[in-house]
């Protein structure tokens, strides 16, 4: 069985740019607005996010395709996936604290936040819905993670400048960030049609 590298590459690009989770599907906004105030936190979050995303997508694929599909338990997928993600994040938290305290000090805060992120649960659900193969699931997860990181870093770099801008009082903080996100989203619509799957 040959691996279709072109298809995998297309999946990565399309999930990162064209169907960017933040700007076209509006998932993960809580974290998107929550941690995009500083460049440093945005980068830390993106890295942690990408790792958790790939591992949880892989784990859910294994559980879903090898256990749930043969036993006809597809209707339990919401409960099972959230359980997998929560358990993985919790154990990653504990392992990281023991093995690499430096890394934990840097990224630990973000780990706790990730469980409540919609993207992390949306990706396994999407993979299950589309019946992706294992490699396709991973490719989709990598693309989504990269896309989220990209969005987060763009947003953080603009918001750092925004700190010194003179914004009308009622729009300070969140409202102006929303309008900013709207403008970035408008730019991202330019990617649509880049690749048709």
């Amino acid at each position: 069985m040959g691996i279709d590298w072109v298809k995998l590459f297309e999946l990565v690009v399309s999930s990162a740019l064209i169907n960017n989770f933040v700007f076209t599907m509006f998932l993960g906004l809580c974290i998107f607005f929550g941690v995009s105030k500083k460049m440093e936190t945005a980068v830390g979050m993106s890295i942690t996010f990408l790792m958790v995303m790939v591992v949880s997508a892989a784990l859910s694929w294994i559980v879903y395709q090898l256990i749930m599909v043969p036993l006809d338990l597809g209707f339990l997928k919401i409960i099972v996936f959230i359980g997998i993600v929560a358990a993985f994040v919790q154990s990653a938290d504990i392992i990281m604290k023991k093995v690499s305290p430096v890394l934990y000090y840097k990224l630990g805060v973000y780990l706790a936040l990730i469980t409540t992120n919609c993207i992390i649960i949306a990706v396994p659900l999407h993979n299950a819905g589309e019946h992706y193969t294992f490699l396709e699931s991973i490719a989709f997860a990598i693309g989504s993670g990269l896309g989220f990181g990209l969005a987060l870093i763009i947003m953080a770099s603009i918001r750092e400048k925004l700190e010194v801008a003179d914004v009308p009082a009622p729009f300070r903080g969140l409202p102006i960030s929303f309008i900013l996100a709207g403008l970035i989203a408008l730019a991202f619509t330019g990617f649509s049609g880049l690749i048709t799957l």
């Binding site: 700007f23 509006f26 998932l27 906004l29 607005f33 009622p170 300070r172 969140l174 409202p175 709207g182």
Partner: protein
Amino acid sequence: MSLKPKSNWELIKNGMFGENTIFRMAISLCPSIAVTNGMKNGMALGIAVMFVQTMVNATVSLMRKFIHPKIRIPIFMLIIAGYVTIIDMLMATYARPIYKEIGLYIQIIVAFASIFARAEVFANKNKLVPAICDGLGMGIGFLLAMLVISFFRELLGKGELFGYSIIAGNPLLIMVLPAGGFLAVGLLMGFFNWIDMRFFGGKGASGV
């Protein structure tokens, strides 16, 4: 948290206005943009969230004496996931056309910060009736926010309300595009902040 217990009506009102999930607390924002391109979808998701929030609050409140504090987070998650599965199946059966459009977002309710936050902050410490009122208030507040946002987006973006055309002529296409959702929420949030500052002397929910 105030020391004086609030009456049930005050709890509902608090959820609707004082601590409105989207405009004041600024959490659970994802669906506020994703499904508000039409009032029908916005209302469907609003009702689903109202159901889940109320039932989760009621269940957590009933079980609060049996849940060990150390493992409460996974247990809350399971309770929420259970109710989300119920509403997911119900909508898949009885509201097929809507479900096709917003099905993913119904399943995503499981990761809503607002539902989890109310279970943790309120239902876990209060009796059944106040917990239900709180959940109902939060749910209604969420529903109202969804209706307001989708009202403007559908009217401006398509010239329609609930699928019936209201305005003839060229609508502003941008409002139904993803970008328009961000703009609409941003502008509305700014507007409510302005009202709060101008008439009630508040500081505005600059939050996050």
